[in-house]
């Protein structure tokens, strides 16, 4: 019985964390390139509606997931055109992108409200999935969960170990210097923004295809904003973002289980994920890791290449 509870609670924690992890990892790359895209919520919703619509129409969740990533990237492309080419203000454009995404996804999805879609199948790895307790937790999830963790690993490796990753980071720290060294600032920022959009789209697809397999207007319910906060929480580092996403997801689920067990008002439990996040943030910034908050120096600053 206890083993069963642990399996169920862990599965719920993983579900709650995965959409945050996708969106936050994508935004991390965008911000490391020096671009601040506040349109994560809108891009997630576009991913959610497109992933759902394509899966329902074609019967193929793989096509749905690809379409979700494409839709998120398409909205990000609009953002990139406005802010990187036309030099619009990034904060205002990002906020507009969220509002636009909420509206457009509602319009596109109006015909899909109330339709059922089969949830993504759980992968079954013979042998590993049959292990007691750990098997179903670690090896009984759907493909998107594994993809989200792989994405974190790949992002960490890319930023730290590859030439392109270092170029991207250099551009985020000082676009002027990078430009004077001949690095392609605008092109790199375009690609980073598109990656962020695609990852947010995948987070949305996880919501509408796996977490709660349905489409409803505004179903992200603010997760895009939490993802943005997680990037800061994780001090722009992929594995810390993953830890943050799982901490936030974990406390969200555990507070539901704790309700009724302790005689505290339900509102106190609802505050817990946020309190825990603030507490960890305070501890990190006061401890020996102090000063290692590496916000990209050129974050949100527009760059016009001097000819």
């Amino acid at each position: 019985m206890i083993a069963l509870s642990i399996v169920n609670i862990s599965a719920a924690v993983i579900s709650a964390s995965t959409p945050l992890l996708f969106a936050a990892t994508g935004e991390l790359v965008v911000e490391r390139a020096g671009v601040l895209n506040l349109g994560v919520e809108g891009m997630m919703l576009m991913g959610a509606v497109t992933g759902f619509a394509v899966t329902v129409s074609t019967g193929s969740p793989i096509l749905g997931i690809l379409a979700a990533a494409t839709a998120g990237a398409a909205l990000a492309l609009a953002f990139a055109l406005l802010t990187l080419t036309l030099m619009a203000n990034q904060v205002a454009t990002g906020l507009a992108l969220t509002i636009f995404g909420i509206g457009l996804s509602a319009l596109l999805g109006s015909g899909f409200v109330g339709q059922p879609v089969p949830a993504l199948p759980k992968l079954h790895l013979s042998g590993l999935s049959d292990l007691p307790v750990l098997g179903p937790i670690l090896f009984g999830q759907d493909a998107l969960v594994y993809l989200s963790v792989c994405l974190t690993a790949a992002t960490a490796w890319f930023l730290k170990r590859t030439h392109a990753g270092m170029t991207l980071r250099a551009i985020g720290e000082s676009a002027e210097s990078a430009h004077s060294l001949g690095l392609p600032v605008i092109r790199t920022r375009y690609l980073a923004t598109l990656f962020g959009g695609a990852a947010a789209g995948l987070g949305g697809a996880f919501l509408s295809l796996s977490y709660t397999p349905m489409w409803m207007e505004g179903m992200t319910s603010g997760r895009g904003w939490i993802a943005l906060a997680l990037v800061v929480f994780g001090s722009w580092r992929p594995w810390r973002v993953l830890a943050g996403a799982y901490l936030f997801g974990g406390v969200t689920i555990l507070q539901l289980h704790a309700q009724g067990a302790f005689h505290l008002p339900a509102q106190v439990f609802s505050m817990l994920p946020y309190l825990a996040t603030i507490a960890v943030l305070t501890i990190i910034s006061a401890g020996p890791w102090r000063g290692r908050f590496n916000a990209p120096a050129d974050l949100g600053k527009p760059f016009r290449p001097s000819v």
Binding site: L4, S5, N8, I9, A12, S15, A16, P19, A106, G109, S110, V113, G114, Q115, P116, A119, L207, Y211, T212, P213, M214, M216, E217, G218, M219, S221, G222, R223, T252, I253, L256, H257, Q259, G260, A266, Q267, F269, S270
Partner: protein
């Protein structure tokens, strides 16, 4: 088209002139023309829940009156300063009857109603009236009592899980009515409540439902607006009830029935009263009897005796033979709140802030 625009402009300017043009009998004056009506919603009409149900009522008004009415609606209006602007805009653009359908619109509706004394306003689920502001509400707890009656018979564990939004009287009343009705069949029946602290967050609602099932609940009720808890019930093989509309399509096996909000008859009646000039600033709280609250079709998996029992309870509440809050009723501490045979008054129910014995919250 041009005519409409001209007339709207005319009405807007006359309304802005604050009665210098006599609009004394708007119903009569507009009888030959379309009566302009407006609805203000807090959610999206595609929420499949509360706002969707109001919008079904709006469509029924259009279907019933055809081109005798000209209906406008505004969705996704936040409950705050913005709603005042929206309501005032609808008033200045010539609408003669404005329905503000959410609790949080109360103060703004009251304020705008004071500024437009010739226009009729209606506010749902609130408690502030004015000479040109009527209020209306539905006795959802009657439906929830029938859900409890079903749960008391369908639950093997005798424990229901309740995904709740906020501990306001409306929700507390529903939890209590549900639990009391279930205890008529199983005196030890318990209702475990998890507060999602949101009206609408599919992910969180689904997590709450999962947690309840993990805690041993084998039937799920909800007072939040998305179908996510039903989907969880479907995948975990337990029964559940929908919210505000028939949600069978999301969970064909799990969905037993749902309390359905039926605003259509009320809206049609109110429009008629404005047309006839008999509109008053009434204060109604209607339920099964008046057809404002209904039930979605029962799941064929429900055994015949359970169906019969649910239908009988509905009929008895409709006729007034049964009141869901009839003593003896004890609170969580075991103190008697209503003695045997005593019924809760409307006033008591509208400020209910305590749980009956058997609720674990």
């Amino acid at each position: 088209m041009t005519f409409t625009v001209t007339r709207r402009t005319f009405l807007a300017s006359s309304a802005a002139a604050a009665g210098t043009l006599a609009l004394g009998r708007p119903g009569r004056a507009l009888a030959a023309d379309a009566l302009p009506i407006a609805f203000v919603y807090t959610g999206p009409i595609g929420d499949m829940g509360y706002t969707y149900a109001h919008d079904v009522g709006r469509k029924a008004v259009e279907a019933h009156y055809g081109d005798k009415v000209k209906v406008t609606f505004v969705e996704n209006v936040p409950e705050g300063p913005d709603c005042e602007r929206v309501i005032r805009q609808l008033a200045t653009s010539g609408n003669q009857l404005i329905f503000a359908t959410s609790f949080g619109f109360m103060e703004s509706t009251l304020k705008v109603a004071g500024q437009f004394p010739k226009i009729k306003f209606e506010h749902a689920t609130g408690f502030k009236r004015a000479p040109n502001l009527a209020i209306y509400n539905a006795r959802f707890y009657e439906g929830r009592a029938v859900l409890g009656d079903i749960a008391g018979q369908m639950s093997k564990a005798g424990v229901a899980g309740y995904v709740a939004s906020f501990p306001i009287p409306e929700v507390v009343m529903g939890i209590n009515a549900f639990t009391l009705a279930a205890q008529k069949h199983n005196p030890n029946f318990k209702t475990k409540v998890i507060w999602a602290n949101t009206w609408y967050d599919p992910g969180k609602e689904s997590d709450a439902a999962k947690a309840l099932i993990d805690k041993g609940c084998d039937i799920i009720a909800q007072h939040t607006d998305s179908a996510a808890p039903l989907q969880v019930a479907e995948s975990r093989g337990v029964y559940a009830f929908g919210q505000a509309t028939d949600m069978t399509s999301y969970a064909p096996k799990a969905h037993l029935t749902a309390v359905v909000d039926l605003w259509a008859n009320y809206y049609i009646d109110r429009v008629k009263k404005v047309m006839e000039g008999t509109w008053t600033n009434s204060d109604i709280w209607w339920g099964f009897k008046e057809g404002l609250v209904g039930l979605a079709p029962f799941n064929p998996a429900m055994p015949a005796p359970v169906k019969a029992s649910a239908e009988k309870l509905k009929a008895d509440i409709t006729s007034g033979a049964v009141h869901p809050f009839t003593g003896p009723i004890k609170n969580q501490k075991g103190e008697v709140v209503y003695a045997a045979g005593q019924k809760a008054s409307d006033e008591d129910m509208l400020k209910m802030n305590w749980y009956v014995a058997g609720v674990e919250s």
